[in-house]
Each structure stands twice: as structure tokens, then as C-alpha cells.
Symmetry: C2
Subunit: 334 residues, 2 copies
Amino acid sequence: MNEKSIKLTSQILKYARNYLEANNYTEVITPRVVRASGACENIDTLFEVSAQGEQKWFNKKRGYLCQTGQLYLEALIPKLGNVYCVGPSFRAEPRVDDRHLTEFQMLEIELPTDFDGLLHEIENIIESMALGLIGNVAKTKELGLTSEDVKRLKSLPIQFARINYDEAIKLLNKFGCQKEWGDDINAAEEQKIVEHFGGQPVFITRFPDPMWKFKKEIEVEKFFNMLPDKENPGRVLSADLILPYGGEAVGAAARVHEPETMIRRLKNSKMFKRLVQKGGNLNDFGWYIEQMKTNGSVPHAGCGIGLARVVKWLLGKSDIRNCVAFASNKESLI
Amino acid sequence: MNEKSIKLTSQILKYARNYLEANNYTEVITPRVVRASGACENIDTLFEVSAQGEQKWFNKKRGYLCQTGQLYLEALIPKLGNVYCVGPSFRAEPRVDDRHLTEFQMLEIELPTDFDGLLHEIENIIESMALGLIGNVAKTKELGLTSEDVKRLKSLPIQFARINYDEAIKLLNKFGCQKEWGDDINAAEEQKIVEHFGGQPVFITRFPDPMWKFKKEIEVEKFFNMLPDKENPGRVLSADLILPYGGEAVGAAARVHEPETMIRRLKNSKMFKRLVQKGGNLNDFGWYIEQMKTNGSVPHAGCGIGLARVVKWLLGKSDIRNCVAFASNKESLI
């Protein structure tokens, strides 16, 4: 337990909420025990929930711990416009290291905007956190920020650097990383890109579309509901925000809002194929499909911001376990 | 999905946070997958968490879904003073009715104060929600409040009525309820008490101490960590806030802060005995005992406020499922 990190987290949540409130967002309490519609791409890391000795306690259905509230927020956009939620995301991640937790707080937003509008919104939220902090000089020390940290945050550009995935792979090869197109970009490589852009946050954009027919199987895999980029066939309108120290702190994308396309992409996703192997089926998403058809849908986009990784960035810390009140991983449960 | 309830919940959360922030509270992100130290008195309604086919995925330990963040907040008081958390509380409640959900949002506070200070703090928080709402006349309609609701909230007294458990049992007998001392007070009876006090919120205080040696087994059972009332042997310094429509919306108590007494009461609680039957032991609370001994402890008190029940009150609704964005119970999981 690091009380400075706790206080700092409390502050940045406040600054982010102030921004969201001033920009007409409605906070939504999304469920945390869910059907597979609360899974992100990492379906193998879903926790299952049982009670009174029954694995299918909920009306003979399997309950999972939520990894993302994305679809629950998306379903509300037609009625509520800009929406957000803050709550735990759970991953049964076997790795015990300085970057992974089995439970972490995520701030998720969904709003009727396009891809560029979304990136702008992410900049605004991240900046509202950083500027809120350094705006109160007396408090920065109390919260554990060194003068070095403050200096770094003061030079935060209003617009973050953007590099698309194709360019990022080329850049990494220039650095001698021997990457092939379609490979995942690991944490060390992400930091090389950050250094290349002056040690400031960088958006890596337009990742390969896992559902496009390439000549090879690609490693990169993302949530099924990302909008293909019409101008760049085989790429989706997605972005990861990479922070110095923090690493991948935000996963973002424009979403598919047309029901038939959404269903087709869902069915073709690796995530769905793994769900079917586990005994799931399209009914897990039935409520969402129903919502789309009943309430309609509008073009929209959204993201999830991992708060502990933002704290890691703000405090320049190397271990995520020092960035949260209670750190949990496979070897540590309290 | 009731969008008015969602908007109203978003608003009252904001008003409550504004109050807490103005009163030096630090928001804490408490874990939601926990050892048995996250259980309240209803240990039979604990959900268990498994992953990759292992029931004891966490280093050979059982993981449960949190019912209360109380101990996690209590542990931080010596370092942080006033603390709060907002997040889901999970109960594997088999009853499917208009009062129970398997997952509900709870606002919990813990602070260095005494029992009277705590009741005052609860009044302040509940009032900050109600006054915030009716303070914006134009918005009340948009949020679903009828003029009848607004009238009811405008007559909310600054100090809520208080009746102790012994008096409440006598009163219910006067109403012909045939209650014996030690019985639980059910939802219908709670509303009779509310009516007796003019249809406004009522604190029922000083419940029987389940660890006191009475001549009979008592029904009333509460979280183990409640402070015995020195002036009323056999009673604890606890309170339930009963709201019209909402029912029991807040459970509150002064806590035991002396480690040996806390451990003794824990070991003697029915909750702990049931935990042992399930294969648990004192190690589930080891981290908390260690914290108490390392960081010390101070007299303190706290409570949990069930947001959906507050919404039920504000909107005068009879069914809790209409008071949340996504209602979950044994028969409904999305």
C-alpha cells in the first residue's frame, strides 16, 4: 500500500470526472458479473463465477467477471449520448510481473464521434489529469511527484504524437528489432517508439484487421467490434496510447454500429471461436444485438483507460504494484 | 434499462462525491476479488471465482467476490484519515424479487469518528444527494421526479428520526406484529416504522450483539466488527437507515479498533464459524490483522450505502430492478 499513489489516483479520478461532467457525459454503473459479452479479446483470461457449488448458478448460464464494460456503454449511446463507467476489469493473467495485475481500475468512455474525435477526447482526458496535478504546486510533492516528474508533465504536448502500425513496424526494424508486419509490438518496443518521440505519449494507430484475409496468420488481435478503415484496407480504426513508464494505457477504436456487420465480425473473431469451444454461443450477445435492433445505433467510438498505468506514467514508476492501493496477481490475493 | 434512473444515479453520485471531497475524504480503489476478508455476515451468499478450470487459482487460495470493502478501508484510516470507495457488492442471493439484486453499487465510508458522528455523516451524505437533486428544479422532471417526490424530499428533516432496536420491537408489537426481542425486523415492518415517523428516513440503532450470551439464540446477525455499546450491555453501536420505498439502504456501525478484541469477536462470529466449515481460517484475515499491528489503529466508524435503494426512495419506486442500468439476479444475467 502506497498512500501517495492512493491519493494521486483519487485526484486524477476527480480531474477526469470533472472533464467528463463538463462535457455532458453520463456515468453508468455497468455490471461486473456478466455473460461473455463482457469479455475482451483475451477470453482465455476470463474468470468464472460460481455460487453454492454450482458453476452455472445463474439460471443454468455461466457467469464471468467483466473485462470491459464497452458493449454495456455502447448499448446506451442512442438514449444517453456520451457515457462513461469506472470500475474493475478482471484478467486471470498468470504472469506475475511489474506490468500486470489480475484486477485493475478502468475508466471507459463511449460517445457518438469519429476516430479523430475519439483521439482528441483521449488527449483531453489524459491532459485533464496531468494538468490538474501540476496545477497545484504545493500538492505535487505531497502526492509523490518529483520536480523531474513535474518538468516532464509540463512539457506534455497538447496533441500527442501519432504513428500508424505500418510505420511503427518500419521504425522498429530501423532500430534493429527484426519485426514482421502482423507481429505484436511488445512493451520494450513500445518504449523505443516513445523515446523516438521525445519521451512523450504516442498513439499507435490503425492496427491490422484480424478479420481481413491476409496471406499469413497475424499475431495482433483486438476486440471484435472495431471499425475497418475504409482508406486503408486490412486495417481498423483503432489506437493504443503508449505512455512513458506506463506502457499501453489506453485501447481505443471507432466501433461498428451496423448490426449485421457487427454480428458477422463477432462470429468471425478468434475470441468468439474460443468462446464456442468453451460452450458459449451467440446468445451471450443476444441482449446487445436486441438492443441494437430495438433502440437503433449511431456511429460512435470509445476507449478504456487503465488508471494504474496512468499513475505509473505520472509518478515515473517501474512497478505497477506500487501504483495501486491493493495489488492483486496470481500470487497475491488479499 | 431505465434512462431516467441512470441519469439520476449519475447525479447523486456526483453530489455525494462533492460532499466527500469537500470533507477531506480520499477515494480508494478497493479490491473486488478477495479472500474472505471481503465477506459481510452473509457468507453463504459469497460468489467464488475460478479460472482456467482451477477453483483455487490464486496461489492455491479460494478467491471470492467482495461483499464489502469495509476492512480494506479500515486498514487505511491510520494513514489517510477519512476514506471512501464506490463499487459493486456481490451477493449470491437466490431470491428473485423487487428488493434484491445479485450485484449492486455501494458507497462505503470509514472515518475516525464516534457513533453519533457517523450518523451525522450519513445524514449529510443522504441530504447532499436529495438537496442536490431538488436544487435544480428544471432537472428534476428530466430525471423522473414527480412533483409529489419533490414535495416529499423538500420536507426531509435535517436530523433523521432515531429509534433503538429495543424500542422498535416494542413499537412493532403495539402495531400487532408479535415480535420477540432478538427477531429480525423484516421489510414490511421497517415500513411500518417509517410510517410511524411521518414517512421519512429512520435510523434503527443499537441492535443486539450477536456475541453476547443471551438466554436464547438471536436472529439478528451483523458484521463481526461492530463496537459493543458500553451503556447498553448486549447491544452494539450499529444502525440501519430505513428509507421510505427504499427500505434498509445503509448499514452502519462504530468499529472495534483494538486488535485482540477484534480477533476475539471475529473468531466468535457465526460468519467465521461458517467460513471454517467451508475450509477457510484466520489467515483469510491475516493481512488485516498485520496492518492493525503494524500501522496501529484509531477509534473509527463507517457504513455502506446501497445506491439503488437510495434511488428507489428518491423516485418512489416499488421495484429495485427499475432503479439500475442493468439489473442482475439469479434469473437474469447479461
